[in-house]
């Protein structure tokens, strides 16, 4: 049985971070892009909690994670409202097709 330590958590968070970046770059659907952003935020959250748990930094890190969860929720609400507005205007949410402003 292996002992789960800080490095395991950091590995998970790095993988989540990389997946988040990958999702943001490759996905065409705006909602999927936003899910990539959520993955990045959660990767940071895992870091905060893991560092706080396995070091002698106090519980600050866990409190920061709570802040971030709340902010992520607020951001998701606003992001979905904006995507809805895009859908009403363009009748699709493909980020590649929403490029009227580029010349």
């Amino acid at each position: 049985m292996i002992e789960v330590g800080l490095n395991h958590y950091l590995a998970v968070s790095s993988i989540l971070f990389a997946l988040g970046i990958y999702g943001v770059i490759t996905r065409k659907n705006a909602v999927m892009v936003l899910m990539g952003v959520e993955l990045i935020l959660n990767a940071a959250n895992i870091n905060f909690v893991a560092f706080s748990r396995y070091s002698n930094f106090g519980i600050n890190g866990q409190v920061y994670a709570l802040f971030v969860i709340i902010l992520a929720a607020a951001e998701a609400a606003i992001a979905l409202a904006i995507v809805l507005n895009i859908y009403k205007t363009y009748a699709n949410v493909n980020v590649d097709e929403i490029n009227k402003l580029k010349e």
Partner: protein
């Protein structure tokens, strides 16, 4: 029982922010209760901003660490001359934008939602006021998000056109990704050092024994978040699209206030965390762990060159001003890259003048767009003759943005170049000077369309009413006046150079 006396004592440091928050609540309440009298909302907002401004002036000479925990000396919030200077810039910009919004057709068309509009605008202002005072990475992240979330909504606020919706989506995606990266960087810094406080970070970094590769990686991630706010290359891709698509009042606000807050954040971050000591002549000596100077110089040159050369081919005036604001961010970054009090003074003066001239240019583009429904440079043919006041004023603002005498823009650039030359950064100064020459081309191209091209049958006379005329004059006169008599700005900025360090 935890000792809360520190927190109670610190409340007096955030009175301006509290006043602003109360204004937001009042705006929302008024909007809900008095459904019929929406015309009064801007006045409530204005009064709230003036009260906030009064409190900022009242604590002008303070220099305190606020919101400390336990016996620690340093807190999350720092109040000093530097933060007050930027708070004043932010408040003045917000007040001008309130006037600006009442003369913007896009905002007038959405009149029934004006309560939301002003509440969100104040939300942005509140985020920025915390940004310029934040001395803890978590408070920095929270205030950046408060600013960003409000501005995503405002960018797409009018819902009148496709470009509006598109701008808000682009802003949202770029913004949330870069603030996510910033948060990841913060989490790594927390893991490396065990603190998010900038002052304690400085102590720990001086002590050494930190893995520099990991630290460098996390600092670059944090710089992505800040660089996106100040639209520095290579994080500037959102700027032209968002500035073109957003309502003009919001474009102007983003290009001045949000940029100012981003710069204040960057300057405080570098000065408090990475400067080991400031010598008698005001030079900041960096800790030998991360070479901010080289990074800033490279980013600055890249930013101004990209901004200026991309602006050359733009025919939409809003888009052109967006690229010009990118270029100005480059000049400002150079002022910071000097890493001395003299460079900081140049940045502060530059910001004050940049605020006036940039807001003025956007206001006139707004007034003309109200009438002719276009920001295309070809629709400006002969407009200098049909609308003399606006033509002359726009000419003055653009000349000032270029940095030619006798306008205030010249003074701004003069102080910047003096700081660069005094720091022996001659090559960089020459590159910046050449960039200014490039920028002359696209600014003067507008003048050519306004004055040398004949007015055609589609050219309409734009004669503003009394109130916009007063606003235009109130912005033009300082630009000319400060070009000749600039002692007040310089002495004001000199009084505000104080960034509280350990």
């Amino acid at each position: 029982m935890m000792d809360l006396s520190n927190i109670f004592n610190s409340i007096s440091f955030v009175i301006p922010e509290i006043a602003l928050s109360i204004t937001i609540v009042l705006t929302v309440l008024f909007d809900l209760i008095f459904d019929k009298d929406k015309k009064i909302i801007p006045y409530i907002v204005l009064v709230g901003l003036l009260v906030t401004g009064y409190f900022v002036f009242a604590q002008m000479d303070f220099a305190n660490f606020g919101f400390t925990v336990g016996d620690e000396k340093y807190g999350m919030f720092t109040l000093d001359g530097f933060s007050n200077y930027f708070k004043i810039i932010i408040l003045v910009t917000t007040i001008i934008i309130i006037f600006f919004s009442s003369h913007s057709n896009e905002i007038i068309k959405t009149f029934d939602r004006s309560g939301e509009y002003y509440a969100l605008l104040l939300g942005m202002a509140l985020g920025m006021m915390f940004m310029v005072s934040a001395s803890d990475l978590i408070l920095i992240y929270l205030s950046v998000e408060l600013l960003s979330l409000s501005s995503y909504v405002l960018t797409g606020f009018t819902k009148l056109s496709e470009r509006n919706a598109e701008a808000s989506l682009k802003y949202l995606i770029y913004g949330s990704v870069s603030s996510g990266l910033m948060l990841f960087g913060i989490s790594i810094v927390y893991g490396l050092t065990g603190t998010t406080n900038l002052y304690e970070l400085n102590t720990l970094l001086q002590a050494g024994s930190i893995n520099l590769t990991t630290l460098g990686f996390s600092l670059i991630l944090i710089f992505v978040g800040i660089g996106y706010k100040i639209s520095a290359a290579p994080f500037h891709f959102w700027t032209p699209d968002v500035y073109e698509g957003a309502p003009i009042s919001i474009t102007a606000y983003l290009s001045v206030a949000s940029k100012a807050a981003g710069f204040a954040l960057l300057i405080r971050f570098i000065k408090t965390s990475f400067v080991s000591y400031t010598d008698a002549s005001g030079n900041w000596h960096l800790l030998g762990i991360f070479d901010w100077q080289t990074l800033l110089i490279i980013i600055a040159i890249l930013t101004m060159t990209l901004g200026n050369f991309s602006a050359l081919s733009q025919s939409n005036l809003k888009r052109m001003l967006a690229y010009s604001s990118i270029a100005h961010a480059g000049y400002l970054l150079l002022g910071l890259a000097v890493l001395s009090d003299q460079g900081l003074l140049a940045v502060l003066i530059y910001f004050f003048i940049y605020m006036i001239m940039n807001l003025g240019a956007f206001f006139i583009v707004n007034l003309i767009a109200n009438k002719i429904n276009s920001e295309d440079i070809h629709d400006y043919d002969g407009i200098g003759y049909t609308s003399p006041l606006l033509g002359v004023s726009l000419a003055i603002f653009l000349v000032s943005l270029t940095g030619l005498p006798p306008t205030a823009g010249f003074i701004a650039k003069l102080y910047l170049f003096i700081a660069l030359v005094d720091a022996n950064m001659i090559t960089v100064a020459v590159i910046a000077l050449l960039n200014t020459v490039v920028s002359l081309y696209y600014y003067v191209r507008v003048l050519k369309h306004m004055y040398l091209n004949k007015a055609n049958e589609s050219t309409q006379a734009v004669i503003p009413t009394l109130q916009p005329r007063i606003i235009v004059l109130a912005l033009v006169i300082p630009v000319l006046l400060f070009g000749i008599y600039f002692t007040p700005i310089v002495s004001f900025a000199q009084n505000c150079l104080n960034i509280l360090t350990k």
